[in-house]
């Protein structure tokens, strides 16, 4: 068993992980430091692709594809649309105001994360966390197995989330409307109703020709 572990965790796997992890971190850093929002979005897409590779190395095949389809595909496309709508460049990369306080906040966050990492690494839970990964079954992380679990044991949250998506779409439409849009819509509706009430009496009169209909409509 031990030999099996050392055989599966070989040099190619280490190099692959190092490359993917490096790409992920570099992409993430680029995302938060770029001045141009379009470049930031593109680097986030790259980060997600690298992350999908990391997921695949964790035998999470379904999640890796989902990451590409949903995150890199759908959500990032949404971001690109919004960037195009807003069409603004960031004038300052990092705002100067309150810089000291925010810098302290970042340092504090970094310290906390480092503390957390060291606690997790040094705790006696390390056998769970530190050992080389055991070889999973052949259908671990495949669409079939995750789907089976999703539609039987986790059917309830699945339905709840589908309801959430419906209401979120409705809400998203509502919250991005502007008052001018509202007034324009009302105006159009009013005009349409006006035109409908003008034409309807003519159509009730038995089958006049188009010319007489237009003639009578012109008189009203």
């Amino acid at each position: 068993m031990h030999q099996l572990h050392t055989q599966t965790v070989g040099l190619p796997a280490t190099i692959t992980f190092a490359i993917l992890a490096g790409l992920t971190v570099i992409g993430a850093l680029f995302t938060i430091t770029r001045r141009n929002p379009v470049v930031a979005v593109i680097s986030l897409v790259g980060t997600f692709f690298a992350l999908a590779g990391v997921y695949a190395s964790l035998s999470a095949h379904f999640l890796a594809i989902l990451q590409i389809l949903v995150y890199a595909g759908a959500i990032m496309v949404l971001f690109i649309f919004v960037v195009m709508i807003l069409n603004r460049d960031e004038i300052t990369r990092v705002a100067a105001r309150g810089m000291v306080r925010r810098g302290l906040g970042v340092v504090a966050a970094g310290y906390v994360v480092w503390l957390l990492a060291s606690v997790v690494a040094n705790s006696s839970a390390t056998p769970l966390l530190g050992g080389p990964l055991s070889e999973p079954g052949a259908d671990f992380g495949t669409v079939a197995s995750v789907g089976a679990s999703l539609f039987t044991d986790f059917m309830f949250p699945f339905e709840a989330v589908s309801l959430l998506l419906l209401v979120a779409v409705v809400g998203g439409l509502v919250v991005s409307r502007s008052e001018k849009q509202e007034d324009d819509a009302e105006e159009t509706a009013r005009r349409r109703a006006q035109v409908a009430t003008e034409i309807r009496p003519e159509s009730m009169v038995g089958g006049p020709t188009d010319a007489t209909a237009n003639h009578e409509a012109a008189h009203h």
Binding site: P37, V41, L51, S59, A60, L63, A95, G103, V106, V120
Partner: protein, 99 residues
């Protein structure tokens, strides 16, 4: 690869996301940094799931992706609504309500 290395990567991503939220003032970049944080959590879930041999982590990560998509969509819609009202998406300029 030991699970721990994946956890280190997720810690790094989480920290980068938090730093992005704290340092950047462009609301769009901040939303992207939040997505980084959520992905860090997803990575941790999948790493644990692999080392435990349990598929619950995968299902949880699936839901996180779905919910993150909904939250991103709503966040972006609010951003667009804000832009239509104020013509800015800079979090510092958006401060009409005094403390």
């Amino acid at each position: 690869m030991p699970t721990l290395y994946y956890l280190y990567l997720s810690f790094a991503l989480f920290f980068i996301g938090t730093a992005g939220v704290l340092l950047r003032r462009n609301a769009l970049i901040v939303l992207m940094a939040i997505e980084l944080q959520l992905n860090a959590g997803n990575l941790a879930l999948l790493a644990f799931s692999r080392s435990l041999g349990d598929l619950k982590g995968h299902v949880f990560a699936f839901f996180v992706i779905a919910l993150a998509a909904a939250e991103a969509a709503v966040g972006l819609a609010i951003l667009v609504g804000m832009y239509r009202t104020r013509q800015t998406i800079n979090l510092d300029e958006v401060a009409t309500m005094k403390r």
